[in-house]
């Protein structure tokens, strides 16, 4: 249907304001537009209002994406962020839920080879800050819904959604220092630790725990098999009970 091609071309113009009319046409099957639609698109590609609209939407998406980079943002040059966001992240991600764009961008920075290459000159703690920001944003976006409020907060059943992060630097201490306004602390110091982030009913809507490798691998295995959350926890994971992660259940 030609209107389908017309609308997709318009969407491409809006999503990528720098794209030329010829590049937009290059993405279409020959003959998929009527002459009227083709002419209309050629005018739209030169319309400053279309470009303004596209730029504004792109600016808002990037601002939203960077809004969750609480600790990492100041350790990354904006120029590098622009390259990572505009040239690598945006084109790969045409559908965007504003609630998740930040989490997805951080996930992109952590996992995609192009980001690893571009971040290679950054100090080693930068990737830890990104992982920490990601875990926090992910957990807070999974705040249990009101209908879950009857479930005990300590129950693991509540938390199919959680993040485990392995860090090579002491980000929690750095986070606390920042929170307390201690300007003397410039960056986190080296330290190996594994952390668990859980969504929570209460402000600030996440809880964090330092966990050992055994607990981390147990949780990772459980996540692969959601139905396992209904089973009683093996007794040798009693350590989890101690840190308030779950209620011990009896077989």
């Amino acid at each position: 249907m030609s209107i389908d091609a017309f609308q997709k071309s318009l969407a491409t113009l809006v999503r990528f304001p720098e794209l030329s009319f010829d590049s937009v046409l290059a993405g279409l099957e020959p003959g998929s537009l009527t002459d009227q639609e083709r002419y209309s698109l050629s005018l739209l590609s030169r319309d400053p209002l279309v470009r303004k609209f596209g730029n504004k939407m792109q600016f808002l998406r990037q601002r939203e994406a960077q809004s969750v980079m609480r600790l990492s943002l100041e350790h990354l040059p904006q120029e590098l962020l622009n390259i990572l966001y505009l040239e690598h992240f945006e084109p790969s991600r045409l559908s965007s839920d504003p609630l998740w764009v930040g989490v997805e961008f951080l996930n992109f920075l952590i996992n995609y080879p192009v980001c690893r290459d571009l971040l290679i000159d950054s100090p080693p703690y930068v990737i830890d800050l990104i992982k920490y920001d990601h875990a926090k944003a992910y957990a807070t976006r999974h705040v249990p819904v009101e209908s879950d409020s009857a479930l005990p907060e300590n129950s693991l059943l509540n938390y199919g959604k959680f993040v485990i992060v392995s860090l090579g630097s002491d980000v929690p201490t750095y986070d606390r220092a920042k929170w307390n306004g201690d300007v003397g602390v410039k960056h986190p110091l080296p330290k190996d630790l594994t952390m668990l982030f859980l969504p929570s009913h209460n402000s600030p809507f996440y809880r964090t725990f330092q966990i050992d490798e055994e607990v981390a691998s147990f949780l990772a295995t459980q996540r692969e098999n959601p139905s396992a959350w209904n089973r009683a926890l093996p007794s040798h994971y009693a350590g989890m009970v101690k840190i308030g992660l779950c209620k011990e259940t009896v077989d």
Binding site: S2, Q7, L10, A11, R15, L44, L49, K52, M57, S147
Partner: protein, 285 residues
Amino acid sequence: MTHSLNTFGLEWTPELDEFLSKNLHTFSAVEIIPENFLEGRFSNFLDLLRETQIPVSVHGVSLSIGSADTLKTAHLREVLKLIQGLNVHSYSEHLSMTEIGGIQFDALTPLAWTKSQLDLVCDRISEIQGYLSTPFLIENVANRFVIPRADFKEVDFINSVIRRTGCGLLLDVTNVFTNSLNFKFNPETWLDSVDLSAVRAIHLAGGFTDTDGFLMDSHDNRISDEVWGLYSKVMARSTGVMTIIERTGNLPDYAELIGELDQAAVISGARNIQTRPGSPVEANL
């Protein structure tokens, strides 16, 4: 004369949740964006709407009714389930598109006012109407740009949609005014041309002027005198209309919001903003 009673209310936002929950009796109508209530969010407010049976304008923002994608029936069903038990006045969506083929615009994007677009949007609306037991309304949007080489003027396109589908109009008076400034036309002529008999609800809001002189429909300012003037012209020729003020940013004192609704009531010749269809006060009118 129940049908002829005008009603007045605010659009619910998370910031207004507490105020509206405590003061719902102050209003004769309320508007909700159902997407804000999915996954059990703010269910207390929905419970209150069920309990009070206040007339509710359900204003959807996700169906992208102008796009050539297939209708998101799962989403529509989910919303219909969510609003069960509410006294639904109407279900509305913007006459625009927000996504196409997996590409999101992130904002309301104008439609081409062409014959093929008219066929497409009318088919889509008829399909939606098949799911609804309440009136479906289209809302005229603030155009960020206009698609050239159209077959119709915007107002004729809207009238054709109304005529072909029997849908109603959620007339956003602020959007008419905004477009008239940005695209240089006379808003009164536009209002003279639109099918006012289809108007079931009205949106009023305030915006700001961007650095390039473009007026933005940002819902974060007082309603301008010009918009009030256009509103009074519409209300002089309309009855049984729900007026909703949209205020989503830069929240003023609540008294200011109520004051704006009072002004709407005065202009509409209503006794106050509280009187609901079927209430004893109305019976005495």
